[in-house]
Symmetry: C2
Subunit: 350 residues, 2 copies
């Protein structure tokens, strides 16, 4: 067993006793940090993902600079479609582009089955190197996109306003859509299992686009495949976090997916969700990311609201309700971490 100096995050995921609420920040290894931008100036985004030394460096930055209780391996959810054979282009400012998006059954058939230890070896190397450099200071999280979110990117091919292409695909070719989702699920399960074998202490599945779907479509096209992944994961006691943005209607169903932790966006009330899910899972979230534009006073007031909404007891991992925005001041992120530690100790000792 690994000896972690700070295991608050893992303890909270498992609803074990804690005296301080752990906090990490989605996109914490990101552009708001000048230290990140300095690395980014030397290498493009995909090169950073594919160079273990650079990925490890930016992964550890927020642990050193911001003081978060967990690191999350710097990477991108689209490395999986790329490994499945899709040519990925990361355009500066314009977001990722697949010039040959998935649009037909034969496109789905052409998606390759991956061996993550070979096809995504650079990720596994980054995990090992990061673990070595972290040297047990905090746990390391690995992540992947949900099959629905990945398929959305793969079918749209580029940024979208109305997500017309993915919707046309599932409504007019549901068989091919399900086949694609199955293939992607298996790839994600293998990938996350390989990350766990390589050393990550927890995994998070991001369902960024689950909120585009009606309740029954969410169930059919997203939740089913998240559940499939969790069932297939090879793990011992590494917690699984599912973050499904905008999926206010299916939080109870998500608790039945096998996830240990449900991540919430900032429109949810932690206390209400805690009641609704009956304490069966831990909860992660959910400060409005734009609160970090405010003063330290405002940040404190809003962070305390989130902490009190969950209340005393374990099972809460503090986070933002979405990724940190690139124009946030690093000192505000740092202030947030201190505030969460400080204020939660008061709540837990009361």
């Amino acid at each position: 067993m690994e000896n972690l100096q700070n295991d608050l995050f893992l303890r909270a995921c498992r609803k074990e006793k804690i005296d301080t609420t752990p906090v990490w920040i989605m996109r914490q290894a990101g552009r708001y940090l000048p230290e990140y931008r300095a690395v980014r100036e030397k290498a493009d985004f995909l090169t950073m993902c594919k160079t273990p030394e650079l990925a490890a460096e930016v992964t550890i930055q927020p642990v050193d600079i911001i003081g978060v209780d967990a690191a999350i391996l710097f990477s991108d959810i689209l490395v999986i479609p790329e490994a499945m054979g899709m040519h990925l282009e990361m355009n500066e400012g314009k977001g990722p582009v697949f010039h040959q998006p998935v649009r037909s059954s034969s496109d789905v058939d052409n998606l390759k089955i991956i061996d993550p230890f070979k096809d995504l070896k650079y990720v596994m190397d980054a995990v090992k190197l990061t673990k070595k450099e972290l040297n047990g200071r905090v746990p390391l999280i690995g992540f992947a996109g949900s099959p629905w979110t990945l398929l959305t990117y793969m079918v749209e091919g580029k940024g979208s306003k109305n997500f017309s292409e993915i919707k046309k695909f599932i409504y007019n070719n549901p068989k091919a859509a399900h086949k694609a989702l199955e293939k992607i699920s298996d790839a994600v399960a293998e990938y996350l299992s390989a990350k766990i074998e390589s050393g990550v202490n927890a995994v998070q599945i991001f369902d960024t686009w689950g909120g585009l779907l009606s309740q029954s479509d969410f169930n059919e096209f997203s939740l089913n495949y998240i559940t499939r992944i969790i069932q297939k994961l090879k793990r011992t006691n590494e917690p699984v976090i599912v973050f499904a943005k905008g999926v206010h209607h299916s939080l109870d169903k998500l608790t039945a997916s096998g996830a240990d932790v449900i991540g919430l966006d900032w429109t949810m009330d932690l206390g209400e969700v805690k009641l609704k899910t009956g304490g069966k899972v831990a909860l992660q979230g959910n400060l409005d990311p734009t609160v970090l534009y405010g003063t330290e006073e405002l940040i404190r007031a809003e962070a305390v609201k989130v902490l009190k909404s969950f209340g005393a007891g374990s099972g809460h991992v503090f986070n933002l309700g979405h990724g940190i925005l690139p124009d946030v001041k690093p000192e505000n992120a740092k202030a947030l971490v201190n505030i969460v530690h400080e204020e939660s100790r008061i709540i837990h000792s009361a």
Copy 2:
């Protein structure tokens, strides 16, 4: 009293007995119709808004072509900020732009108080002309943006991904934000009252960006001002519809705003909301707009799901859960209207 040949829409808004569920479609006067595009080729978007003959023409098109049970006056929510003194530019394909967005207290002070009968006379003229040309066939709806949604556009100045500017504004200058929201509320109340006086049979308030806010911020920065408008409206028995996209958490509070009808996006379950709101308001919605990309079979199956979710009894206005998309086939919109009429008659007569 006006003698309407088809008052199904108004009866459903008032929860009076009906034998057929009425249906209209958000953005029904829009680009998916070749007849609309033909008018649009001759005049730019703002000219269409400001020329009563053109506005009336495209307003009536979906009544003739698609067979909807209500018309909604063609216009844009940004005519109010423009009347308040902001220079508005409608860029082809890029969306609306305010080159001098609201960013400070003095910008707020500079917003003009409007007299809708003078400053937006073209809208009132369009209402009168449309009413005359509709000649009692179906009711006419007038609309406005909510103060929060209008302020979001006024502060951002152009399309936004993260809505950073409006969030910075409310968190760092809440006093100015509230002053702006008050001024806009009063302008919207006067504007909708003038539309009612000019002849519209119902009004809809669009809170497109309410879903950006946490629950308490929604209450403070959006709901309060929607309530203020409804209280100030000069009306006799014209129903007020509030459509607040993504505001899953505050539907019960919206029923206390004085609205007669709550519009729902497609992530909500009509039956659940009906239970939650205790039948105090009528509900409008909420088919996923992308279902119209599917076959007639799919459209029927999904429309029936929506109808059955509400169930028998009055108080349901069928609509999409968001505006119709520009690349939908008009025949699919027409099919939807027929399907809703046909299938709802079966439900109501059972």
